[in-house]
Structure formats: structure tokens, C-alpha cells
Symmetry: C2
């Protein structure tokens, strides 16, 4: 398999974690979103109509949207399963993963911050406040979900799931942006636990072939 990926894209990182957890070998095809390579005509026409990273290539099949890729991998390579089959646990895992994926990440990614700067003339302080605001809103929800289920060391028990796959890169992102996460102790405990796991470590931005210091 091949993965079109950018080193500090947290959606790319989700897929890298899942590939690692499942022990699936892949080649990284770097797409530098800072210079707009995800918008190149050939990439959009032939790889990923979303014009985003990541995109998975599995034989003849090319797929964008990280959560669709994660579901596809879980269907096709189910060991270890990241989206549980038991309906209530499955729902809780998806609920947390989607809170991260719909309510936190999309409003804080590169294209948002660029639009704020170029079109709305937001100052660096306003951009930082924007980022922190939505991280705070979302992480408060994550923390409430973890308090309700009250397990550990992972979000939902003894094994990592899609919830961890989505949460851990988001926390890493927030820490890089100097967000104060001290109010989210359960989330940080999951993050610290994941930071010892080989698949999570190998997926970190600074370990990618396209890393830019």
C-alpha cells in the first residue's frame, strides 16, 4: 500500500497509526500541503477528489477522507479491530472520534488559519485565540465523554480504538500550538499512554520522511 501523507497533518497521522497498529507495510508519498500540492490537477483528478490529505492507495483502489480510510482498513484488515462490533461500545468509540474529527480538527486546520489571515486579516493573536477556543470547546466534550466511560489506559479500555487514533494526533497538534490542556487530565493520560506505543510513536510527525524541522 501507499499513503499520500503530510508529516504534520493530523488526519494523515490517524491513518499512519492505524496502518502501524495493523502491521501493514506502506510507502509514504509526501504531499506538501503548505505549497498546495494537494490541489495539483493530477492529484485531484486521479487520486483524491477531496483535494486533501491523506489518500490511501491499495492496489487499484484509491481512497480519500481519513475516517473512510480507517473504516476501509478495519473492514479489509480487521486485526486488531479499531471500530468495535458491539453496538453500544462501537457507538461510544465513533461518538468520540467524530467529536474530534468534525468539531475540532476541521475548524483548526491549515486552510482555516490561512483564510483567517489572508481574507479576514486576523492577527497572530486572533488566530491563536481561534485555535485555542475550538480546542477548548472540543476537548471539554472529549473529557466529559471519558469521564462518563471511566476506563483507561486507552479511551475505551485495554486496547486502542478509533477514538485513540483520532484523539492522540489532535492532542499532539494542540500541544504544538501551545494550548493549555491541563484541564483535560483523562485525555492527557491517554496521550501519555499512547506516546509509549510503537505504532503511535512511529506515526509522529517528526518521524516521517517528509518532516520539515
Amino acid at each position: 500500500m501507499q499513503l499520500h501523507s503530510f508529516f504534520n497533518s493530523s488526519t494523515s497521522q490517524r491513518v499512519r497509526i492505524a496502518l502501524g497498529l495493523k502491521g501493514l507495510a506502506y510507502d509514504t508519498l509526501p504531499v506538501n500541503i503548505r505549497v498546495g500540492e494537494h490541489r495539483a490537477a493530477d492529484y485531484v483528478a486521479n487520486v483524491n477528489p477531496s483535494a486533501t490529505v491523506p489518500a490511501l492507495v491499495d492496489g487499484d483502489f484509491k481512497l480519500g477522507q481519513s475516517l473512510a480510510i480507517l473504516d476501509y482498513l478495519d473492514q479489509r484488515y480487521p486485526e486488531p479491530r479499531l471500530i468495535p462490533l458491539e453496538p453500544h461500545l462501537r457507538a461510544r468509540v465513533l461518538e468520540l472520534a467524530l467529536l474530534v474529527s468534525c468539531d475540532i480538527h476541521p475548524v483548526n486546520n491549515l486552510r482555516m488559519l490561512r483564510y483567517l489571515e489572508t481574507e479576514l486579516k486576523a492577527t497572530p493573536q486572533q488566530k491563536a485565540a481561534w485555535y485555542r477556543h475550538w480546542v477548548g470547546e472540543g476537548m471539554a466534550g472529549v473529557e466529559r465523554m471519558l469521564a462518563r466511560s471511566a476506563t483507561g489506559p486507552w479511551c475505551f479500555g485495554a486496547q486502542p480504538t478509533l477514538a485513540d487514533v483520532c484523539l492522540v494526533p489532535q492532542i499532539g497538534n494542540a500541544l504544538r500550538m501551545d494550548c493549555d490542556l491541563s484541564a483535560y487530565a483523562r485525555s492527557l493520560a491517554v496521550y501519555e499512554h499512547a506516546s509509549q506505543h510503537p505504532a503511535f510513536v512511529a506515526a509522529q510527525p517528526q518521524r516521517q520522511p517528509d518532516y520539515i524541522a
Copy 2:
């Protein structure tokens, strides 16, 4: 079942459509997000830690995040199935649904527009430009996906799927916001087709008990 819902929340509308397609009766519990009812302490603590709409109540089980709810309903009440089981079709359906749900909706919802106005002092023109920009970016991707699969009358063939459940409310939303969608003919054709289907019609904002003219 009961659905905590707001009449013109497109995430609530997704769930209303799915309940209708599956022929499941439910009571609407209105949550007026314009006046912050989704942030009420009791709702957040006891119903939906995401502090959003919708939230489904199925017996003792309460669940937030519309896509988690839609997956749950599809698992528990699989007829008619909205998320196909065949891996490649399933992946395409999820890819389109997630493009709408992650790349279009979250950046254009009420809380975004309010933040732009109150914190960044965006003018009505700037808010409208923001909305149209992200709709345009996302709808171009949707249209490319539909061109690639080239089916109809629904996004992926003869039956509605999760892709339609997500796309149709988003298009309705964009039309209410006076976006020019004429470049997205395939998407509009799906929307027009859906507008004749009883489950899609019944889920429309103006038909909800909490509708505000």
C-alpha cells in the same frame, strides 16, 4: 425513540431522514441552539457531552454526533441499509458523507458564523463570503466524486445511502444561504430527486414542530 433536534440544524436533519427511511417512529425534543439550549448544564451532563444537536435517545441509551447516530441506527435497524457492506461501495459512500460532514458543515455552522461576527468583527459580507468559499471548495469535491462514480438518481445508485443523507441537508442549507450551486449539476440532480422522497420531505426544516419562520 426520541431525538433532540433543532429544525434547521443539518446534522439533526440527517438523523431525521434516516429515521424516516427506516420507518422508525420518534418524538422530537426541540433544542433551540440559537438561544444556547444545547449548552444547558442538564443537557450536557445527562444527554450529550458534545453540547451539540442532535442526540438520539433509544431506551436507556443516549448518543450524540450525527454520524455515530447514523451508524448506530444502521447497525440496530439495518433495513434499509444506508452504509453498504460491500467494501468499495461502502468506502465511496463514507468518503462523500465525510467530505460533507468534515470539510463543509463544521466550518459553516452557527457557532462559526457567530464567532466570526462577535470575536473577529466580520461584516455580513465577510460572513457570506466565508460561507460561500467553503461550500464552493467542498461542493467541487462532491461533484468530482459523483462524476467519478456516474450513477444516479441517488449519489450511488438506485437507493439512498449515507451519502445522500448528508449531502441533501447541506445543499438545502447552501440554497438558504443564497449560494450559487449551478456548477454542481450532479449534486443538484440528487437534491431534486430527494426533494420528491417522503422521508427527505418530512425531515425538512419547515416541517418540524420547532420551526421558526
